[in-house]
């Protein structure tokens, strides 16, 4: 027995390289235990505080390793700037989600320890996913990120739509995972390797493996599987329902972090492992990107629920990012990473405002909840305005630079028609983003407008009653941290729009790490 164990030498493990991941896992365990403490103060304050500390430590460890490039655990994971920048983004999104969840209904109903432990586990899964350079670890990461999220969606247990959201996500997500797993198996079958470098070598070698039906099937199923996760049309149908039903802090987290993870793995899988098979996957992905842009933007037009609106907007934005993946060169991948970061900043500002208004008004996430806040709540009105302008791609916001970069990459990579789609999508998107801004600044608040506005969302059914927050969580006092999130990310949106150079330096390192041309 001992002799056998000696024969199977374990792989060399670089603990420092894994440290952000380990920090998040350990944090998840500690938080889970801390949630069992009897004292209510400990549960309600210490658990979120410790979660934030954990994520901050993970960010610190990631920053400390900037510039390191190596394989971890026998090549299962890759430590490079892409992994690190994504880790930082997930942790930032996680911190924002914890802050938005603090004093929210969901963690109280689901128990604080479990809620935060699940959140941290999901982040750990995301880190594994973007670091993965082996088909097995891709799937491992994907499941590790998905399963906690299925639960988190359903944490407002007394609200039917939250449960529905969780169930829907579970069913659709499992379908996506199964499809992906099938695709990964085909990829292994075609190339004889689960390792990304092995796959790339097999594709770059002799023979016409690029036209092998086995490989084509594998690529197609993989695209479909990842498209489910990244909510790329036509596999996006779950997105509005799940986003609407889930507790808003979780929606915010899913919208930014899950999407970032899905695109992170797409970059590594398509633009590194399958780069030599680009003829196979680039045209269909380009078509998917175009469809996604149109479907997302058109779908958002008629929405009155802000969460549904942002869900469709996130579909459209996924289309923009996909354009960067399609281009499959260094510029394209840099533009994608840039846009992911910018997208995270813009959306967190917007979702923070939605959380704040859900608690302040009985209107839930209806657009009417924003009516007139330009006059009454400037600290919420400005971040929301900036976020909407940025999502629409107005200059002097980070969204403009991000879009500029994507268009630049598309044109440079010979996909000018895709650039035109991005622009046409932006045109359509104006109609709904501006509707939100008009509600903020140009519509009188419900007090002035009388009961007409108040009556409108009640037609929406049972949703606003509990989504509006519990009796205790309601009120202006309990909102300091939510407003802070909105203001910080709103300000960041403008700052990155005027001084984008630091972010450009980061994505240049990422581009260099993947060694694309």
């Amino acid at each position: 027995m001992i002799a056998a164990a000696e024969k199977i030498a374990g792989p060399e493990i670089d603990w420092a390289g894994l440290s952000p991941l380990i920090a998040v896992f350990v944090g998840a365990l500690v938080v889970l235990m801390l949630g069992l403490v009897v004292s209510r103060a400990a549960r309600e304050t210490a658990v979120p505080a410790l979660s934030i500390v954990t994520l901050a430590v993970a960010i610190g460890l990631s920053v400390g390793q900037w510039g390191e490039r190596e394989d971890l655990i026998a090549g299962a994971l890759r430590l490079d700037e892409l992994t690190l920048v994504m880790t930082i983004l997930f942790c930032v999104a996680g911190i924002a989600a914890v802050l938005l969840s603090w004093r929210h209904l969901a963690p109280r109903e689901a128990a604080h320890g479990e809620y935060h432990a699940l959140l941290l586990t999901s982040i750990a899964g995301m880190i594994v996913l973007v670091a993965a350079q082996n088909l097995v670890s891709v799937f491992l990461g994907l499941e590790l990120l998905s399963i906690p999220l299925y639960v988190l969606c359903a944490t407002e247990m007394r609200r039917a739509s939250s449960l529905e959201s969780g169930l829907k996500y579970l069913v659709v997500g499992s379908l996506g995972s199964a499809t992906l797993l099938y695709g990964l198996a085909f990829l292994y079958g075609a190339t004889g390797s689960t390792d990304f470098s092995g796959i790339a070598a097999a594709l770059g070698g002799e023979g016409d493996i690029v036209t092998d039906p086995l490989l084509l099937t594998g690529i197609a199923l993989t695209i479909v599987g990842l498209a489910f996760k990244g909510s790329v049309a036509p596999f996006h149908q779950w997105t509005p329902d799940v986003y609407e039903g889930a507790p808003t802090p979780i929606t915010a987290f899913m919208a930014v972090a899950t999407k970032a993870a899905a695109f992170g793995v797409m970059l590594r899988l398509f633009d590194v492992a399958l780069i030599d098979a680009a003829v196979d996957w680039a045209p269909p992905l380009a078509v998917l990107a175009a469809i996604t842009i149109i479907v997302g933007n058109v779908g958002a037009l008629g929405q009155t629920s802000l969460k549904r609106l942002l869900a469709y907007s996130s579909v459209a934005q996924a289309g923009y990012m996909l354009a960067g993946v399609v281009v499959a060169n260094r510029l394209g991948m840099q533009a994608t990473v840039f846009y992911i970061a910018v997208y995270l900043v813009m959306n967190l500002a917007a979702f923070a405002v939605i959380v704040a208004r859900e608690r302040e008004t009985p209107l839930g996430d209806d657009i009417a909840s924003l009516n007139g806040i330009g006059a009454t709540r400037p600290l919420l009105a400005w971040p929301m305005t900036i976020a909407m302008l940025a999502l629409a791609g107005f200059p002097a916001t980070a969204g403009f630079i991000g879009k500029f970069y994507l268009i630049d990459a598309s044109v440079d990579g010979g996909y000018t028609w895709l650039a035109v789609f991005i622009v046409v999508g932006s045109m359509i998107s104006l109609a709904y983003y501006l509707k939100v801004i008009a509600a903020i600044w140009m519509t009188p608040s419900e007090d002035e407008a009388g009961d007409v506005v108040v009556a409108a969302p009640l037609a929406g059914g049972d949703q606003p009653v509990l989504a509006g927050g519990s009796d205790e969580a309601t009120g202006l006092r309990a909102q300091g941290e939510v407003v802070a999130v909105a203001v910080v990310f709103g300000a960041l949106t403008v700052i990155l729009g005027v001084v984008p150079s630091p972010l450009f330096d980061v994505v240049r390192d990422v581009g260099a790490a993947l060694g694309l041309l």
Binding site: G374, P395, Y405, V420, A431, S501
Partner: protein, 504 residues
Amino acid sequence: MTLHLSIMLWLPLALGVIGLAAPPRFAGKLALLGCALVLGYAITFLIDFESGASGLQYLTDETWIGELGISYKLGIDGLNVLLVALAGIAWFACTLWATFTEWERPRLFYFHMALAETAVLGALLAQDLALFVVFFDLMLVPFFFLTGMWGGARRVQATMKLVIYTLVGSLLMLTAAVATGVLAAQGDLALSFAFSDLAERPLAESSQQWIFLFFAAAFLVKMPMFPLHGWMPDGYRAMPLPALAVFSAVLSKVAAYGFLRVCLPLFPDASEQFQTLLLLIALASILYGSAMAFTTTEARLILGYSSIAQLGFIVLGIFALNEQGAQGGLLQALNHGLVVVPAFFIVALLAARCGGSQDIRDMGGIGMRAPVLATLFLIVAFATLAMPGSSNFVGEFYILLGVFTEKIVIAIVASAGVVLAAFYTLRLFITTMHNRTGARVESRELTFREGLVLVPLVLLIIAIALYPQFGLERSEKTVSAVTAPVAPQSAVTAEGVAIPEADR
């Protein structure tokens, strides 16, 4: 390298931001201070400008986003020096006029006015295509809020229409701008959007074509020109007056300026190819605008439609693709801007004298007890209809002269526009100032402070009527350089002297 342009550019915005934090009663004063300083700067540039020198003056050139080849490059030359001055004058006058009114949420109002000024100045001063696009799109944001928050009836719908219309054009322009930079940087050339670099890297003719059309769409919507003017009636009805005056006076000129700055030098082949199309659009705008101005009864819309006609002349001049035409177009841009600001103020005064109605059928006889107002209006009206002796006459003369040498039929038809201008302008004047006194009309003289704004503007109109060369000689050198790639055969200056090849 100097900081002066940057100071002038950011000053209004800086004071606007300070105004957001200051007590509301200071907001207007701070904004006015910003406008006054910009005006002072603009006048200094105008006087200090070296007419003989070609190339950019007061150049500022810093890298903004190195990765994307975007530089923060500002400069003044013959193309923009007059328009910068126009922006300074229009904003000062309109902000001063705005302080006469009590605005709801004044800090935000003046902040948006200031942001608009910074954006417009940025678009005029930018010497980098990407920077130009940034400021050109940014111009829209404050007007979205100004119209939507302080506008008249149906303001939200109007502002949506305005923004969506113009931004559709602007986004097409964004794609076109990126494509220009990327396609120009073929081989081992570094990506750069600076106009000077792009001018040295001509694009293939097929690329020029679609890029030109995208740019043209953006500019034509912004002006607006005839088939793309759908937002104009609602927008003009809803915009608060000071914002409307600067919009009509300056923003439309930025679009015309865009043709001269971007399209002619960078896409010369496409400019020649689409010359007839643009001339026909301009012609249609002149005829349509004049006809509508003659039939509508809303005072604001008369000015709106007359602007379409006047901008038609400007485009006509630019797409004569020779020096006279472009000179005339530029001069006419200045003239129209200077004329339309007092014209909108007068419309506001008229409305105040007939119970708030904007309909000219309710007006009439207002001139009875207001001789000063009537006189000022008459001068403005004469300038609008390009009375011989006015600077507008010189501008239109140059434009028609330029077109005559290129497309004689179009020039002859366009001449009808000059006559039509007399029709609609005099109709506006007569029905409001003379005619039978309207039921609710209460004729009274303009107040001292209203005169304080109007009289200098009218004096300015008279001044450039007496000495139009002031503008022409400043723009001449640059205009001939800009039109050189598209009109090699007609290298004739305003004085009829051929420029030696080496100078161009």
